[in-house]
Symmetry: C2
Subunit: 339 residues, 2 copies
């Protein structure tokens, strides 16, 4: 990898981005903190990293609390490590006000993983700022990608819409379920079925594991226009495999690792990887454009003291919000654009 042009190497004049590219762990952590706390400052570094991204396999891991996501992630991470890959783990918890630590508050990561220099673990949380959290997570993935992680796990707590939005930006989405949690039907209802590329039935030594597998197979069968798995595979479509695991002992995680690798191969062979990444870039571009514009717009009107004035007019019913919006937008849509 060539050094970035125009950047002096040596001492403190080396940019964070350059240090990330060289595999500097502390710089990687600092850049992710910058992304969280001063996104505008981070932008310059992210610009420099963009050309070095797009190589990592991003694996999302989601499911209800208590299904053993972190143990599952840790087991998978160790498998990738054994094959020589560098690994990134981002644990996202929108309900947690904590962020930036290497460990989630409620449990300690496997010690051997946490001390392995080939593994970068990071938790991200931000109660209330969900849009911002999705963007921050996305940019953190970009940093780990540029830092040379071959696989990046994004683990989300819960199955709410916001978590789904975060995890669906992954290349491969693993949905974890546990037999007898009573959330089978609810989980399927919550739209989890559509985003899953691989199912992991964890704690598969519990009584109802087989019933859950059958329920899932039925749900998948009917949702796929009554196609059989065989004919779908002939057409090159992906039928989410259902793997049974016991993360606490590691049982079944080899097969799960293989299912995830198979999906990665499928994505590349079928051209779907490019389709997914195009959609992801499009969503990101849209979000960056809107953030930048929003900032300029509000600065413009707040400097003129006009924003508060319009809100007062709304409150006094002197204007309606649609007419007000039209007026405020007019300087930002000149006649050429407005058509």
């Amino acid at each position: 990898m060539e050094p970035l042009s125009g950047i002096k190497i040596g001492g403190s004049s080396v940019s964070l981005a350059e240090r990330v590219l060289r595999g500097d762990v502390r710089a990687t952590g600092r850049l992710i903190s910058l992304i969280e706390n001063a996104p505008e400052e981070a932008e310059q570094e992210l610009r420099a990293l963009h050309a070095y991204t797009g190589n990592a396999h991003v694996v999302g891991i989601t499911g209800s609390p208590g299904i053993g996501k972190s143990t599952l992630t840790d087991r998978l991470a160790k498998r990738w490590r054994k094959e020589g890959f560098q690994v990134g783990i981002i644990a996202v918890d929108p309900n947690s006000p904590f962020s930036g630590g290497a460990l989630l508050g409620d449990r300690v990561r496997m010690q051997d993983l946490a001390t392995d220099p080939g593994v970068f673990i990071r938790s991200m949380g931000a109660r209330g700022r969900l849009g911002g959290l999705a963007r921050a997570t996305h940019n953190a993935i970009r940093v780990l990608d540029a830092a040379g992680k071959g696989v990046i796990f994004v683990e989300t707590v819960g199955v709410g819409q916001s978590e789904v939005d975060i995890v669906r930006t992954a290349d491969t989405v693993v949905v974890g379920l546990v037999p007898g949690m009573g959330d089978d039907i609810q989980t399927i209802k919550a739209g989890i079925l559509e985003i899953a590329d691989v199912f992991a039935i964890n704690k598969a030594d519990r009584p109802d594991a087989n019933r859950l597998v059958i329920e899932l197979q039925m749900a998948l069968g009917t949702s796929g226009n009554a196609d059989t798995g065989a004919s779908a595979r002939t057409e090159g479509r992906w039928i989410p495999p259902i793997e049974q695991t016991i993360a606490s002992t590691g049982e079944g995680t080899g097969a799960l690792r293989k299912a995830i690798a198979d999906h990665w191969e499928h994505l590349q062979r079928s051209g779907e990887l490019e389709t997914r990444r195009r959609a992801r870039y499009e969503a990101e571009l849209q979000s960056v454009v809107e953030d930048h514009w929003r900032k300029r717009f509000f600065e413009y009107w707040q400097q003129r003291g006009h924003w508060e004035q319009v809100v007062e007019q709304l409150l006094r019913k002197e204007i309606d919000p649609f007419t007000a919006a039209q007026q405020l937008l007019s300087p930002f849509l000149d006649s050429e654009i407005g058509g």
Copy 2:
């Protein structure tokens, strides 16, 4: 109420807005459907209604599934009806693909409520389109407000961030809890504590009701800087009352109704009603401005075929998203604005 200027009365030339103001139930339903399915068409009608809004007391009711929210809402609705108020009920379920019906799919409203012409009941659901759902709910509230409903209940299913965002636009937020559901601590963690104006401990005949009350009191006490309720009241601050109810029999719903009325009085007396409504108008204005701008921006670039082009460049790493955003925004930020 004066008829809107410039609108012919009689036959089909009367606008939907005008018919809503006259209390036409079918027109009210049609306008809400328009809000959901063709928001731009609805805008014209909403403009006309704005001056007639701001009179209703909007009561949000939230809590985990299974705590009896709909029964609680129905009991409260009947109490307001008895006092002569017109009542609106909007039941929001972001996970449901169904919308527009007068009943939620999974249970039938009390028959006497559903057939009472003084009560307008509506369910709204829209899996995946959460931003749009919040806005649609807000506009539906506006329609019922203009239609003369004195109280409007907004019932949300679940306690996810999206539901919290919807319910927090209410004047008074009632958080329902049930003893022994095991979600006590989780609910408090999920930020429910901060948004509650009134707590309803429903199914209060269950064993652990008193413990839940004590837990809540402790959480409220410590969260308020160790102030006692008495000193807080002296300062005019609101301490969320905790009411015990059994919605299935109606027990305790009179006290709950009083607590909600007390909060409404507090909002008006303390000036907080205006503060909340100002914040709500501000958020709405922001969202309308952004929607309108977004539409123009994407039309502009898509007409020129340039949007797809930039996404391809991102995919090929020829440009980074921040530089791309800057380029796309430049026609929308002329030199005068850009400063």
